[in-house]
Amino acid sequence: MRKRHLMVAAALSLAATPAWAETIQVTIDKLAFSPASVEAKVGDTIVWVNKDAFAHTATVLGDWDILLPPGKSGRLTLKKAGAVDYFCRFHPNMKGHLTVKP
């Protein structure tokens, strides 16, 4: 009986967190963001996984700047809706696009 209560509590706490918030992975390999274009919602988290031996960034000038050392990852939780183009400050030929829905 007590066990069942715990399960109900667990189910409720799961429901209370925004269960639909997703983590979306973008891989960087050979100086390219993949997928280059991502659709997400406010509350989702983007994780960039850098597979290159080079440092990169995911940057929107004047907004966010995620440093991605070689072989490491970095993350950003999306706080506002809108569409942005981001790029790598070290290699401005690396470009990505993010569409964030409310």
Binding site: K30, L31, A32, A53, F54, A55, P70, C88, R89, F90, H91, P92, N93, M94
Partner: protein, 174 residues
């Protein structure tokens, strides 16, 4: 004396204008590996000179990026030639590149402050453009080993990125 210095100047101009054109006959993989490694080393040395001479934050940050990236590419190149048991082979193109770079460094050594910053960054734009075109038109098409070709293709993207980065820094110096 006049004749000698004019000849030297003409030779230098020829080198400076077309240091990569001499490999018009298709380079071999050991030669390509040497040229690519040399091109990276030259840019590292140019960056180290800038790190000593410049006081401009954008220029210093750019130079640090150049050292970090080109050391990483060259490490990958060394690992690859070791794996493939290829011995990089010195050649006329590598020699011409090295000679032109030494002349450029000597020229930059005489400059100071903003004049140095501008000359260094302008040369970085020109140098990366030159290497991009050599990679695209000669080195990548000539490479026969698939892994070497792939590394050169990554190198091309790095160099193209640096060219754009250098252009951005140049625009901020104006």
């Amino acid at each position: 004396m006049l004749i000698r210095s004019t000849t030297a100047l003409a030779a230098l101009l020829l080198f400076a204008a077309t240091p990569l054109a001499r490999a018009a006959d298709k380079p071999t993989d050991p030669q390509i590996a040497h040229i690519a490694y040399t091109a990276g080393t030259i840019d590292i040395e140019a960056a180290k000179q800038a790190l000593k001479k410049s006081r401009n934050k954008d220029v210093l940050d750019f130079a640090k990026d150049m050292v970090r990236d080109h050391e990483a590419v060259n490490r990958q190149a060394l690992d690859l030639v070791k794996k493939l048991k290829v011995k990089p082979e010195d050649n006329d193109t590598s020699k011409a590149l090295t000679k032109a770079a030494a002349a450029e460094r000597a020229k930059l050594a005489k400059l100071k402050g903003a004049a140095f910053d501008k000359a260094y960054v302008d040369n970085e734009v020109a140098y990366h453009k030159q290497v991009d075109s050599a990679l695209e038109t000669l080195l990548i098409p000539s490479a026969s080993n698939a892994e070497l070709k792939s590394l050169l293709q990554t190198g091309l993207k790095i160099f193209q990125g640096h060219e754009q980065h250098a252009e951005h820094v140049a625009s901020m110096l104006k």
